[in-house]
Symmetry: C2
Subunit: 100 residues, 2 copies
């Protein structure tokens, strides 16, 4: 019973990142997503993966590998959009006169 | 060493929801956030909390209580905005003629 609750909980928290990853891919938008959150989260899940390897726990390893994969898609797109926005802002700053 | 990695991982994945919660509160926007993700995630973390109580594990209980609190703020605002958007769409449908 306890194991079953743990497994269901692991499946839910791991797979919950799938709809968010699909949403980000589909809309191509990440401005509502926190860069700090996904940086901390991906680092934390990588820590959980190392922890799983040290304990030799296959459930921890598998759950966190899937989560890393999904969170990385979201983080990767967020980083790309952040860099693009910065490059665009820098271009505007040097080529256009200030509005105010 | 193994415990330390687990603790750092737990702190990172738990506290990562703080910047996202603050962002949602500050901007008042949740349209980039997946409703399905936060519904699944909050249900999953509640499962982890029950698992922690069944194992009598204080670290699992505390980490998941904090995560539930932060994820609930995000989910609560997302649900409120989704309901507001639906009510608005229903009002427009009955009061305005169709554009096409």
């Amino acid at each position: 019973m306890t194991d079953m609750i743990g497994l269901v909980a692991a499946a839910l928290t791991t797979l919950s990142f799938l709809p968010q990853a699909l949403m980000v891919i589909r809309t191509g938008r990440t401005d509502g997503i926190s860069l700090i959150m996904y940086t901390m989260f991906t680092a934390g899940v990588t820590g959980w993966l190392v922890y799983g390897f040290l304990l030799n726990s296959m459930p921890i390893i598998i759950a966190n590998l899937v989560t890393i994969l999904l969170a990385s898609v979201i983080l990767g797109l967020k980083v790309r959009h952040t860099l693009q926005a910065r490059a665009q802002a820098a271009t505007l700053e040097t080529s256009a006169p200030s509005a105010s």
